[in-house]
Amino acid sequence: MNRVESAMRDLTHLDEVARQQTWLHRIDARAKAITTLVYVVAIASLPRHAVLEMLPFAAYPLMLLLAAQLPLRVLTRPLLVTILLGMAIGAANPFLDRSPVRVFDGWCIAGGWLSFISIQLRAVLGVTGAIGLIATTGMERLCHGLARLGVPRGFVTQLLFLYRYLFLLGANSAAMSRARDLRSNGRPLQLSTYGSLVGHLLLRTLDRAERIHAAMCCRGFHGDIPLGESDRFGPRDAAFVAVWCLVLIAIRVSHSGNFPH
């Protein structure tokens, strides 16, 4: 399978998972977006040597991923890429920070190793939080929620359009890549062929944009996609935000005093 097909398969899987109707999927998108933002900021605000203090935060993404029943396979590539990036940038930490840091009573470890592990943990928690949000919300509901939270309509319209045509152009691109791969006998894609391949995809894209515009004008389009009625922000959604934000803030505050610096 080529890279485009692999990415499209993950995207399709996430889209299918997001269309489920569990209790968590029925929670308003705004509630989940706000809670995820608090979660991300709480993790980022932990000091650089925080490792054990970070573990309780895993409860939130675990809840999201278990509710979405997302297979681990979909998480593998993003986790691997993020951890590789974190390892590349944090690789110097163990060598440059040799200051001893007390972990337990009578148990010390070099500060650089702690900050190195902390970067990897932050990466894992950040990735699972973001993917958990989209797997339990879906792009359309999230866009509705963002619009209700005050994100400019132009940007929300662009997000919806992009997401709608992502599958179409992704399939086009995957088919073209597969056709080239089957004819290339294992040779890498040459630059001149790349220009022609991607150029043709671009020409199709531009033609498609013209057709879409004409079709939308026929349906009374005036530059703005109507978002329709959004879900009502009910007491259950308010309770979700309140409980999780309190839990996350409590975990963060409970560790604020006893960090080694």
């Binding site: 399978m1 996430l14 900021v41 943990l121 045509y165 152009l169 089957l182 890498p188 630059l191 004008c217």
Partner: protein, 401 residues
């Protein structure tokens, strides 16, 4: 039979099996059948090449840096959205949508880099700016990065502001109007497209890479020293920029040959407001912030040039040795409004011990530094405006045709 030909035939046979098997399964199962994909071996070689691009990650930034970059990127994206709303005829909306999907799909197609054995892919910011103009391109890049951060966790939610700035603002709002358009002019021959794309890619990608280094250093999560990290990132991203420039050249070359009607014209707007007032206000605000606040953080150590000369010659380059130099130096001190970036007597005349004591409290709010910074910044802005005005006045008037 040569092994490569045999491999090709085997792959075709496997593909036939795959198609038959795929036809006999339902839609959900057919997606899972991809594990039997015959082209696995073809693509596996490059599957992680080019993945380590310069997406900033949540793990590397602090909330203060992430929040500040969120605000900056959200403000610029909102400005770009408003500009589009003001001049859009509705045609741009679907075009932006499908262009974003195009960039998203194209970023996953790798091409071989000649004579290196490695591969690269398109970033897309510069290409989008060339197709749509800078402001729509920024909105499209912001949407692509948002989808990537949500679905593929490229970067992260807190780092989204950093990524929009590094990968969207730098190529679309800086490299395209200031490098690409002036270099390209109204010519669209392949040589000019190549020069403009390469220069603009280098400017945009290196600025973005420098942004990653600055944001990481300010966040204080990684131990890597600022200068070492910068020296690592800039050469690596120079190679990435060359790949971006090559990819942009071949795509634009193909497109403008196939569709000459899409070539840029001299009269095509760059996407910025024609009014000078918002630009001047932005420059003034930046000058005041930089001069009035950031100047507190100015290092008391010698600057790079002084340090280099001192290392090379073994002595301070600022010590005058001839009578003429001493006289000129005395004249300069007497005439300087703000000597050594402070008020007369508050810095230059202080004893050495006091200077050391004050440097221990760095950064400290210093009125002299602030006034010097603001005055200096205003002088630079005024001088730049004066040069622009003079050059405009000196330009021969074109007769209306």
């Amino acid at each position: 039979m040569r092994p490569s030909v045999f491999a090709s035939l085997a792959r075709q046979r496997l593909f036939e099996y795959y198609k038959v098997w795929n036809r006999n399964t339902d839609s959900v199962e057919s997606r899972r059948a991809d594990r039997f994909d015959p082209t696995d071996g073809v693509a596996a070689r490059g599957s992680f090449q080019g993945e380590l691009n310069m997406h900033m990650a949540d793990a590397l930034i602090s909330p203060a840096v992430g929040g500040a970059m969120w605000l900056a990127s959200a403000g610029l994206t909102a400005y770009a959205s408003r500009t589009i709303d003001a001049r859009s005829d509705g045609r741009l909306v679907p075009l932006m949508g499908v262009s974003g999907a195009f960039v998203f799909a194209t970023q996953m197609i790798n091409f071989g880099i000649p004579a290196t054995g490695s591969s690269g892919h398109l970033g897309g910011g510069l290409l989008l700016a060339a197709l749509l103009g800078p402001c729509p391109a920024l909105v499209v890049m912001a949407s692509v990065l948002t989808i990537q951060s949500l679905f593929f966790a490229d970067g992260g939610l807190l780092a989204l502001g950093c990524n929009i700035f590094n990968l969207g603002v730098c190529p679309c709002l800086i490299a395209y109007p200031l490098v690409f358009r002036p270099l390209l002019g109204s010519h669209t021959n392949l040589r000019r497209v190549f020069i403009a794309s390469l220069a603009a890619s280098i400017a945009g990608v290196e600025l973005g890479a420098a942004g990653v280094v600055i944001q990481t250093a300010l966040s204080n999560r990684a131990e890597l020293p600022f200068s070492t990290f910068l020296l690592l990132m800039l050469p690596i991203h120079l190679a990435i920029a060359v790949i971006e420039g090559l990819a942009t050249t071949v795509i634009l070359g193909f497109l403008w040959r196939a569709r000459p009607d899409l070539q840029p014209t001299r009269s095509q707007p760059t996407g910025y407001s024609q009014s000078v007032v918002p630009v001047a206000a932005g420059l003034l605000a930046a000058a005041l912030v930089l001069g009035g606040f950031v100047s507190w953080f100015a290092s008391t150590r010698p600057d790079g040039l002084e340090w280099s000369v001192a290392k090379a010659t073994g002595s301070s380059p600022l010590s005058g040795s001839t009578p003429l130099h001493a006289e000129l130096s005395r004249l300069q001190e007497q005439s300087a409004i703000l000597p050594d970036y402070g008020f007369l007597g508050d810095g230059g005349e202080a004893p050495a011990g006091e200077n050391e004591a004050s440097s221990a409290h760095w950064p400290a709010a210093q009125l002299g530094s602030s006034v010097s910074g603001i005055a200096g910044s205003l002088f630079v802005v005024l001088a730049a405006c004066a040069v622009g005005w003079v050059s405009r006045a000196a330009r021969p008037k074109r007769e209306p045709s």
